[in-house]
């Protein structure tokens, strides 16, 4: 991979990570390519660091701020978890009227956790691509990706624990 192509790969990955629309990314990449070709400039000298330049264009410095989707999924998962825990305990205590609530909230909890996983995975993969292209260590990516993927499923583990405890009592 040439220096220019590597720079552009980092640049477009960072724009994507910052939720810049695809059309705008294509346009910004085309602008960079056109400039470098005409100016015969070194891309680093003309545009500087690709991550920093992408940040300037994206007009934000929210590098580590979770996306709205991630935050929303987290709150929905917490809400479904609470409803599930209450209704499943009552159901197991013999109140069959809570069965639909337990089933519905259980399904909702699964969906919310899956959405949270997808959201975090997208972010992790995007970051990993950037790190890989920056030649950071693969071990760092594997560890962080594994932790990120496991975190949402702790909801399911706790839900199972609630069911187990309620069934045992």
């Amino acid at each position: 991979m040439t220096t220019t192509e590597r720079w552009i790969a980092l640049f477009s990955t960072e724009l994507e990570r910052r939720d810049v629309p695809d059309e705008r990314i294509r346009e910004e990449v085309a602008t960079v390519r056109a400039h470098v070709e005409e100016a015969s400039d070194d891309i680093d000298a003309a545009f500087g660091d690709p991550i920093v330049y992408a940040g300037v264009l994206a007009g934000a410095s929210d590098d580590d701020t979770p996306s709205r989707g991630t935050v929303l999924s987290l709150f929905i998962a917490i809400a479904f978890f609470i409803v599930f825990a209450i209704s499943v305990v009552r159901w197991l205590d013999g109140d069959d009227g809570n069965a639909p609530w337990a089933i519905l909230s259980g399904a909702g909890l699964l969906a919310a956790v899956a959405a949270l996983s997808v959201s975090l995975t997208r972010r992790a993969v995007s970051t990993a691509l950037r790190d890989a292209l920056s030649r950071r260590t693969e071990a760092q990516w594997r560890l962080s990706a594994t932790v990120l993927l496991l975190v949402p499923w702790t909801f399911i583990a706790f839900a199972a624990l609630v069911v187990a405890v309620a069934a045992a009592v």
Binding site: A30, A34, H35, E38, A39, A46, F47, Y53, V56
Partner: protein
């Protein structure tokens, strides 16, 4: 201000604007400064942008001053001249008026 001034000569694109400024002794305007500036001016409605095919190479994004951009350029140039005149007076007389 300089980018808007450059566009008063007609539609142009990033590299050409930088080259025009350099041709007038204003070197050092980096692409990483110029393009985000033009993007902000586009968002502010001071310029419009359109892609035109390049001569065998990649297309070029041409910028054109809008009437609002023309007025803003005029205002900024007026402000600049006033600043330079004030600074010049201070440099000469050693005091402000």
């Amino acid at each position: 201000m300089l980018a808007l001034r450059a566009l008063r000569n007609g539609p142009s694109y990033g590299y050409a604007i930088g080259a025009a400024l350099a041709g007038h002794g204003l070197q050092g305007v980096k692409a990483s400064t110029l393009y985000p500036l033009l993007a902000r001016q586009e968002a502010a409605g001071l310029v419009t942008a359109e892609w035109r095919p390049g001569g065998g190479g990649p297309g070029r994004k041409y910028f054109t001053l809008t009437p609002a951009g023309e007025a803003e350029a005029e205002r900024l140039i007026h402000e600049w001249r006033r600043f330079v005149a004030t600074a010049e007076t201070y440099m000469t007389d050693g005091r402000t008026r």
